[in-house]
């Protein structure tokens, strides 16, 4: 039985701000269900004696000292902006909130 419903796909797509057509939704129901089934496969392993891995890297405590370094000049910072007024990045007007 599929582990993922079409509603689940819709929901996740909504969170990711993707709009999917019917074919893509169908396909993803299958693909995402397969991924979860694979996770079940992993769950068959006995991991009771193994400490949980909290992070993929085996190193810790890498820090920068609190020292100010150079920033980009504004022109460079705004260079890739789809739209700007020379000071700000411009985005479609934000309604709601604040």
């Amino acid at each position: 039985m599929a582990k993922i419903t079409k509603e689940d796909v819709e929901y996740v797509a909504g969170l990711a701000q993707l709009s999917l057509d019917e074919a893509a939704r169908e396909r993803l129901v299958g693909e995402m269900s397969n991924i979860l089934s694979y996770m079940d496969k992993l769950n068959e392993l006995d991991t009771s004696g193994i400490e949980p891995m909290m992070h993929v890297l085996d190193i810790s405590n890498v820090y920068r000292d609190d020292v100010v370094g150079p920033s980009l000049d504004r022109e460079t910072a705004l260079m890739n902006a789809p739209k700007s007024d020379g000071e700000y990045f411009l985005v479609p007007r934000i309604l709601d909130q604040e």
Binding site: G14, L15, Q17, M54, H55, V56, L57, I59, S60, N61, V62, Y63, R64, D65, D66, V67, V68, G69, P70, S71, L72, D73, R74, A77, L78, K83, D85, E87, Y88, F89, L90, V91, P92, R93, I94, D96, Q97, E98
Partner: protein
């Protein structure tokens, strides 16, 4: 039905590191838009954030001051959401393993002490600032604020009144300022408070549905918003309705909260460990080093003010309410003033001037040295306490040296007995009526005659000498 309010607070405070939390850009609030930015805080793909050691140490310091347990092992996580205040569509924060957890802070209200539980204090990055004044169709985004280190402090739902919430926020701000980790400037947004508010019938355990009040510009605003929500929620329940779980804003002008996000999709942030940042391990030695470097905290300082300067608990409390004022007081004393008059001049006259001019002590032109000098002028009899009030106003306005003001305006107190005796004779001669009254036993007439003496000396008569001379002169009438 009797209801009680249940409040939990979430406070976001920007930590005063010099550079941002994951990159070397400056945190300077006043820089022109988009000048403190780099590929990391702009959220460019492929960059590598590296955590600022200063942020870790500041967070641990706050955690210790809040009696928290410091996690030996902690990590950063990604909180995923779309909003034009973060270019990379996630905020780096901490989810299930915050750096500090399970602490408490004491508040005092009406003589009783209460502990407010601290659920957690965790590290995250601030977001960009959105500007809505650019045009009709567009909003501007300034990434200077994006990546400024942000500490989120969350309480247990232990607060039971708007006043307790106010007191909690006041104490928390005081603590943060003493720790020197933030200026806590609410106007510039370096401290932001949100209240989760619900009500329940007195005697019941189950929490009611809560509303979250956000974007309140002051602590008194938070207090008023909570009081407003208590009334509003009760009314909803009494009319048979249900409280809607939602975010509400606070309209300070109208004094009401209002529903803020109607069409909001469910919060589903899909947190996962931030793969670009490695775990934070604070071992015992590091924690100990930070603990030993903690400055004197408000409670200890208040006690010391009582012990070392013989101040009353109330006065010591007022003077240590802000670190700035406590530092100022100690500087005045170090500059040679006696603690008691120093305390009084600061708490009463100087504070009145600050309040009247809506000024912060930090911006005050009266330096600790000049206030000490002014108190010295009273001590050595150069000016009277009454004249000193005028001198202080002048110092407050101009920042000038008290001695210079006194000399220039001819405010030096008249202590010359011969001169005062002459004035006394003149006053008595001109006021035969009151003199007769005094002789007839009306002590009140004496006050009037002192007033006439002060008037004749333009307030510069040394009050004690004026009194003595007047009594003497009257006895000879």
């Amino acid at each position: 039905m009797e209801y009680e309010v249940v409040v939990g607070m979430e406070v976001h405070v920007e930590i005063d590191t010099k550079s941002k939390v994951f990159c070397a850009c400056s945190t300077n609030f006043h820089a022109p838009p988009n000048t403190n930015v780099c590929p990391i805080c702009l959220g460019m793909p492929g960059v590598l954030p590296v955590l600022n050691r200063g942020m870790v140490e500041a967070t641990v310091a706050v955690g210790l001051a809040l009696n928290c347990t410091i996690s030996r092992w902690s990590k950063m996580d990604r909180k995923n959401y779309f909003y034009p205040d973060l270019a990379k569509n996630y905020q780096i924060s901490q989810y299930d393993l915050p750096l500090c957890h399970d602490g408490w802070m004491e508040i005092n209200l009406d003589g009783t002490t209460k502990r407010i539980g601290i659920t957690r204090a965790h590290m995250e990055e601030d977001t960009a600032r959105n500007v809505h004044t650019i045009g009709v169709a567009e909003s501007g985004v300034d990434f200077n604020r994006c990546g400024v280190p942000l500490l989120e402090i969350v309480t247990e739902p232990d607060i039971r009144s708007a006043q307790e919430a106010f007191e909690y926020l006041t104490r928390l701000k005081q603590l943060l300022q003493y720790l020197n980790v933030s200026d806590c400037n609410m106007e510039e947004g370096s401290l932001r408070a949100e209240a989760n508010i619900s009500i329940r019938p007195v005697g019941t355990e189950k929490f009611g549905v809560k509303t979250e009040v956000k974007n309140v510009a002051s602590f008194s605003g938070v207090q008023k918003a909570i009081d407003y929500e208590i009334v509003r929620q009760r009314q909803v329940l009494e009319e048979g309705g249900t409280v809607v779980q939602e975010t509400r804003g606070w309209d300070a002008a109208k004094g009401v909260t209002f529903s803020q996000r109607s069409k909001e999709s469910a919060h589903d942030y899909r947190y996962f460990p931030e793969p670009d940042l490695v775990p934070v391990i604070v071992d015992e030695a590091w924690e100990k080093r930070i603990r030993e470097s903690l400055p004197e905290l408000p409670r200890a300082r208040k006690q010391r003010f009582q012990d070392s300067y013989s101040l009353k608990p109330y006065d010591a409390g007022v003077l240590t309410a802000s670190k700035a004022m406590a530092d100022y007081f100690e500087a005045v004393v170090t500059a040679g003033a006696q603690p008691k008059p120093a305390a009084n001049w600061i708490m009463v006259e100087l504070q009145a001037l600050l309040t009247e001019h809506k000024q912060e002590l930090e911006d005050c032109k009266v330096t600790s040295a000049s206030l000490a000098a002014m108190i010295g002028l009273i001590d050595d009899g150069t000016i009277s306490g009454k004249i000193a009030k005028d001198v202080l106003i002048e110092m407050f306005d101009s920042g000038r040296d008290p001695k210079a003001i006194v000399t220039e305006k001819g405010l030096v107190q008249i202590s010359d007995t011969a001169e005062l005796e002459q004035i006394a004779r003149d006053v008595l001669a001109a006021n035969a009526g009151p003199v007769a009254d005094f002789k007839a036993g009306k002590e009140k007439a004496f006050g009037f005659l002192v007033g006439q003496m002060m008037k004749a000396t333009k307030g510069k008569g040394n009050p004690k000498i004026v009194n003595d001379i007047l009594r003497n002169a009257l006895s000879r009438v």
